[in-house]
Amino acid sequence: MSDTSPLAPRKRRGAELVLTLMAVVIGVFGYIAVGLGTTGAIPTDTYRLIGGLILAAVGAHLAVRRFAPYADPVLLPLVLCLNGLGLAMIHRLDMGRQAINPDRAAFATGQVIWTFVGIIAFTAVLVLVRDHRRLQGFTYTFGLVAIGLLLLPLIPGIGQEINGARIWIRLGPFSFQPGEAAKVCLAIFFAGYLVVKRDVLALAGKRLLGIDLPRGRDLGPILLGWLISVGILVFQRDLGSSLLFFGLFVVVLFVATERPGWLVVGALLFAVGAWFGYTAFGHVRVRFEAWLDPFSNPDQNGQIISALFGLAHGGVLGRGWGLGSPELTPFSFSDFILASLGEELGLTGLMAVLLIYGLVVERGLRIALTCRDGFGKLLGIGLTMSFAIQVFIVAGGVTRLIPLTGLTAPFLAQGGSSIVMNWAIIALLLRISDQTRRPAPKTSRVDADDQTQVVKL
């Protein structure tokens, strides 16, 4: 009712600032420790990094304070901490890899620039999307944009095949992975589509084997979604993204319709897709073999074996920053950055990182739970689950829980498009959170007068 209402939600921006500064301290501490571990001296350009990180962190914090004052207070510090850890690790791997061969590319500077671009994108989303419900009006636009983005790498002129996966586009000096942007567009599309169709999907249709099957015409777009994800698998050789899109789709469908049958249907369809991939593509079989028995063919599975040795080398407490040898693993800075962190920070550090990921997911689900409109709920679930599935696929692949697929650990791994789009995802979540926790606008209530309303005749 009023500002003094005891139920007015606390903004907790102060707590956010403190945590943000702690996250900056972690990033800077990691950077200094890398310098001490590798060269025995504090890097001379530390002050530049400190200045830059504080600028970026406080900038992001002020953007939240200004444009989303009621947003969740821990999401921003959590992802800043991950980003700082990633930067320190990429810098450390640059030093290690260039010690082996000075011609190898350094990624840390580029990653710092991409982080700044990401925070600018974060601020831009907060400024431009003042109400997430507006996005619902662009449901099909986003769906088309997502398909367009996914098809871009297949266009001969700009598409680029790197390491057997055709998921990059190159425009002049910039290469971009449109799949990352497509992920956000698809989450918006699924949320907008399912919030309208969920009743039809859940209620109209026949019941078969205890599963409520929807009508064919409602099922059409869903099968389309499945076909798209299989299409990515076939044409782009990108196992990770196809798994991610399909998992995202099944989860949002399940949440929207509240029918567990979808999980069964999704699992069956996934099994069909996986079997198809296994029989049709050689590289899928290679991944399966590397998963089940990597040591049977050490030459072929050198990467995962190296990562496993690295994790074992790290042990419980790790080697310490700059003291292990994670640079020996191919792609230690992107796909295998979790293994690199595990080697240098040990199980203790890796658990903290996974816990931070877990907290990000928990906050995302809490935002979706408390959100009042159906679209925001589904969008929150979609964004959060895409994040969670991605972390699961990466961490599971690196630790040999599931077959390895090429996805990047959000915020940690080197990769410009990944970091920018993940910042945009966090901005969207904060926007929903701000809408949810904001107190209801003041309305003037017409009270019945105490006295009889008198009309003198």
């Binding site: 009712m1 005891p6 139920l7 939600p9 606390r10 907790r12 707590a15 403190v18 945590l19 702690m22 996250a23 301290v25 972690i26 501490f29 990691g30 420790a33 001490l36 571990g37 025995g40 969740d72 207070p73 821990v74 510090p77 959590l78 901490c81 407490l317 790790g318 080697r319 310490g320 920053w321 003291l323 920070l345 040990g346 203790t348 550090g349 903290a352 816990l355 931070i356 907290l359 928990e362 906050r363 009270d447 019945a448 007068d449 105490d450 009889t452 309303q453 008198v454 009309v455 003198k456 005749l457």
Partner: protein
């Protein structure tokens, strides 16, 4: 750089990392359970929302008393005719400024035929007869016959009446 320093840095970093994680968790904890609702102001607010007039609490207590026995008089509590009373029989009772009213209320804000009190043998009801300014029980303007227990104040214009034993 000595082995000891590097080990200390290693432990220090892990400690800082975990302190960060735990303080994030503690912020979430206070975020979930921290919106403690003070009971007193809320109870007050709820009361104020439901019953904006002080008349209603008065009503509640006599209501129980009213369950025993039947009312015998209609007493005018407030208004220009305060103090007057009419004995209650079986007949309906008309209140208003008109000449056919049981009590001629000398109140400018009361209609000629304002309200009627009637009994079904067990209970007394009050019914508004389309008055200009309405008949109120508490803050509620009545639109249909409403049972009136003993001691409930009924307001017509500036006049307040109640049933008494």
């Amino acid at each position: 750089m000595s082995e000891l320093t590097l080990t200390l840095i290693k432990f220090g970093f892990l400690a800082v990392l975990w302190i960060f994680v735990l303080s994030a968790v503690s912020v979430i904890r206070t975020d979930i359970f921290g919106t403690r609702v003070p009971t007193r102001p809320v109870a007050k607010a709820a009361k104020a929302g439901k019953t904006p007039t002080p008349a209603t609490p008065k009503k509640k207590a006599p209501k129980k008393r009213g369950l025993r026995g039947r009312p015998s008089v209609l007493q005018i509590v407030e208004g220009p005719n305060a103090g007057q009373s009419v004995p209650l029989g079986d007949e309906p009772l008309l209140l208003g400024r008109g000449t056919d009213a049981a009590i001629r209320l000398n109140d400018d804000y009361v209609s000629t035929r304002h309200a009627r009190f009637a009994s079904n043998g067990e209970q007394w009801f009050v019914e508004d007869l389309g008055s200009t300014n309405g008949t109120y029980i508490g803050s509620q303007r009545i639109t249909s016959p409403v049972p009136v227990p003993i001691g409930t104040q009924v307001r017509l214009g500036k006049t307040i009446v109640e049933l008494r034993k």
